[in-house]
Subunit: 229 residues, 2 copies
């Protein structure tokens, strides 16, 4: 019983991987570089988490053509990363870190691999609450994608998209990670830096707030750890 | 009014491009390499067709990670390309040239680009009849993908997947190409060769039959042009 787990190297996907293992799946771990600024640091976390869990089956895919397509502050160096309190939106309700249709690109790759592996599930660590309005992080999007998989793969292929953390708060992510002993000390969240986390970008702020609310100290290093989040 | 047109360099997508232009769209042409044996030849056809139509906006994307994922004779050199009369299937009803979920990967990229360009349509040259049972070449798959686009993109983005040749026979492809003066002499179909088409692979056989039934001579060169198709 195999599951393809999307493992970015962040907390959410780390806990998602812990859930897949806890459910008894053999995990095949997929990491996607999409030309984001911190991709080397995230890749290092991916391998560290795989090593921790003894996951041998790993696939690293580069989709940096999304950077060429542009339109996002994560991949386009001409757009500044906004501090979390002052999101400047391109569209009416989309944050600047939005990569157009990113999760669909990632799920398409995951499905191709899952079909070859005869996997029964794809695990993704999307979180609706803190996804800042990304349209491809919602249950309705994943439901629609499951339908595309059913229509677009062979007759013997049936793959569920598991999103065990989608309704978790960041506090719950931390608490559940503690319960399952997920290796959060190996994860990376910062959008801006690759050595010590900046502590001020949107992703750092969400992470730090989660640890604070769970009453747990974040084990990674920060350049600046804000007192009030 | 912009449309992203998937232009492989084959006849079907060439006619599809002609339809998009005929409908009055500004065309942005997307070509995808997926590690197939004849990708350089197909890329040359892509640029030749773009030059012919004066299409300036072009994007070439490499998704050869699909080759690493494997499972197809088009990308896996360990699997022979079957002659068209003796398809050896891996699954009960899938031909060996099937790349798992290929069209979903391609449409995901097309959608990312279309959202940035504020395009209203994606044109794809899928043909249900001669797609040999590829599950991701059917209307029901494209309908499901349109739903994914609606769910997974920004609130202002509405993109239709146009498939003007999906119910065409290869004879109709040739006849309609004549009517619209689509440059079939610049297209490439052979799965096996990159100089003169082999004339015997599945794709060559379908192409030659279409020209024969339309009563038109195929303008490209063949190593061997079978008398009976």
């Amino acid at each position: 019983m195999t599951a393809v787990v999307l493992l970015s190297g962040g907390m959410d996907s780390c806990l998602t991987c812990a859930y897949a293992l806890d459910a008894g799946f053999d995990v095949a771990a997929l990491h996607v570089n999409y030309g984001q600024r911190t991709q080397e640091r995230e890749l290092a976390s991916f391998h560290a988490i795989c090593d921790h869990y003894g996951i041998a089956q790993r696939l690293v895919v580069d989709i940096s053509h999304l950077a060429a397509i542009g339109g996002s502050s994560l991949t386009d160096s001409r757009i500044d990363v906004a501090p979390h309190s002052s999101l400047v939106t391109r569209h009416s309700s989309l944050p600047t870190s939005y990569v157009p249709f990113r999760n669909a690109n990632i799920l398409a790759i995951a499905t191709s691999w899952a079909e070859v592996l005869k996997a029964e599930a794809i695990y993704i660590g999307a979180v609706e609450e803190d996804s800042s309005g990304y349209p491809d992080c919602r249950d309705s999007f994943f439901d629609a994608f499951e339908r595309v998989i059913e229509e677009g793969t062979g007759p013997d292929t049936h793959i569920k998209i598991m999103r065990p953390v989608i309704h978790h708060s960041k506090q719950q992510i931390v608490e559940e990670s503690m319960r399952l002993a997920a290796p959060l000390h190996l994860t990376w969240s910062c959008y801006r830096n690759s050595d010590a986390a900046c502590g001020t970008c949107d992703s750092c702020a969400l992470r730090l707030r989660g640890f604070q609310q769970a009453g747990v100290e974040d084990p990674i290093d920060y350049v600046e750890r804000p007192r009030y989040i």
